[in-house]
């Protein structure tokens, strides 16, 4: 019960995000209108994905330093939750883009680079699948995971900053700071990031437990 406090926190935060995010008063903006609420359900997924993939990368570094099967399992499960959040982020973004930009895929640099990032991590899963020996799989996929995370940073944060994006906050569009003068959006956005991240960690811990049981079963 005491150990699981963060799961209750996660449920409470996400309830707050869903109820507050849909019902609260939001700033009125041209074109965006009510779709600005997607900040909580789309934009908040990306920092969560980065945190999950960072945790996965840290476990991989840990595995390289001191090999242990638990660390490898954790790295792969956190990467899987990160990929899930990335896919959800792309899907929610595409629905939003259909209504604000006119088409689901508009060739926006952030959109393209997020898709590339998912390809890199999909390759991580394929790599894991094609190595048979467990120890070899752990070590080699840990190396690839570190390389993948190192490529992710320029891909998602440096390259899109160089070109104009259609996203709010770049290319002359109003940014978070301009829109959110009285911090109303922030009051839901930050809890949303924490809530989604906790949900991702929850998924990962469940995955780790299943994997550990399967390993035990195989022994």
């Amino acid at each position: 019960m005491k150990k699981n406090w963060w799961k209750y926190l996660c449920v409470l935060l996400l309830l707050y995000v869903v109820i507050g995010g849909l019902l609260m008063d939001v700033p009125r903006l041209h074109i965006l209108n009510e779709s600005i609420r997607n900040t909580f359900f789309h934009a908040a997924l990306w920092p969560s994905m980065m945190i999950l993939l960072l945790i996965s990368g840290i476990y991989s570094v840990g595995y390289i330093i001191k090999p242990a099967a638990v660390r490898d399992t954790a790295a792969s499960e956190f990467a899987k939750s990160g990929i899930l959040f990335g896919v959800l982020g792309l899907l929610t973004g595409m629905i939003w883009a259909k209504f604000t930009w006119g088409s689901a895929w508009s060739g926006d640099p952030k959109q393209n680079n997020a898709a590339i990032a998912l390809l890199i991590y999909a390759a991580y899963l394929i790599l894991r699948g094609s190595l048979k020996d467990p120890q070899q799989r752990s070590r080699i996929s840990a190396v690839y995971n570190i390389l993948a995370f190192a490529t992710l940073i320029p891909l998602l944060y440096i390259l899109p900053a160089q070109t104009d994006s259609l996203h709010p906050g770049s290319g002359g569009n109003a940014s978070f700071g301009d829109i959110d003068l009285d911090n109303r959006l922030r009051a839901v956005f930050y809890p949303a990031v924490i809530g989604w991240t906790l949900l991702g960690v929850w998924f990962s811990t469940l995955g780790i437990r299943i994997q550990n049981l399967t390993n035990k079963w195989d022994d």
Binding site: A123, S130, A150
Partner: protein
């Protein structure tokens, strides 16, 4: 000590390449063949290529030539040879030598490709030195990523396709920056307008090189 090791390994790579000329000739033929196919497909006698298309096509040709050129980096080294390396050299010097050798090879391929491509498809580049610098920085990045990926793929089954699957998405940041730099060179913009891109690609190269040198010894043990 480390320096002599690296230079020895580098000499060995060059010697093997010159001894087995079929690999080098094969990749040169691949490059020339692809360029000629592009020339025939676009039929530039009647239709002039747009600079954007010209530039993108050049980098795609270079990308796939690089993938198949570096694919043999570790895939073709037999396990006996790897054991021998393990006994006589450190992991760091092996990957450094591979990166240096394949960077050199890709730079030569890129420059030859640029020459031939410009010859058959026309050369709209207005500031050639910037274009060449783009080729050099892009080649170093591609060689580093592909060398590391090749050593990963060599451990797995169906390694030829895995090499491409792992390598292509990782190459995209380097490729995008190179395309942007060479587009600026084609348009003849001032060097100062490409400083940002040059800085980004140089730092990606540096990060990937450092990671390859740190991580390779762990890959190699198995």
């Amino acid at each position: 000590m480390l320096f002599t090791e690296i230079s020895g390994l580098l000499k060995k790579e060059v010697k093997i390449e010159l001894r087995q000329k079929y690999a080098l000739n094969g990749i040169l033929l691949y490059l020339a063949g692809t360029i000629f196919i592009c020339y025939l497909s676009f039929n530039p006698q009647t239709a002039q290529l747009q600079p954007v298309t010209w530039n993108a096509l050049f980098w795609i040709i270079l990308l796939f030539s690089a993938v198949s050129a570096v694919a043999k980096s570790f895939l073709h080294d037999s396990s006996g040879l790897m054991t021998y390396y393990y006994l006589v050299a450190s992991g760091q010097s092996i990957i450094t030598a591979k990166i240096m050798y394949y960077s050199g090879l890709l730079i030569v391929l890129g420059l030859l490709g640029f020459g031939l491509y410009g010859l058959v498809l026309g050369n709209p580049v207005q500031s050639p030195w910037l274009f060449v610098l783009g080729i050099i920085l892009g080649s170093i990045g591609m060689a580093t990523i592909l060398s590391l990926v090749s050593s990963i793929a060599a451990k797995a089954q169906n390694n030829q396709s895995l090499h491409a699957v792992l390598g292509l998405p990782l190459l995209i940041p380097v490729l995008l920056m190179s395309i942007k730099i060479s587009k600026n060179a084609v348009d003849g913009l001032a060097w100062s307008s490409s400083y940002d891109e040059l800085a980004v690609i140089a730092s990606i190269d540096a990060i990937v090189c450092a990671l390859a040198i740190i991580l390779f010894p762990y890959l190699w043990r198995s």
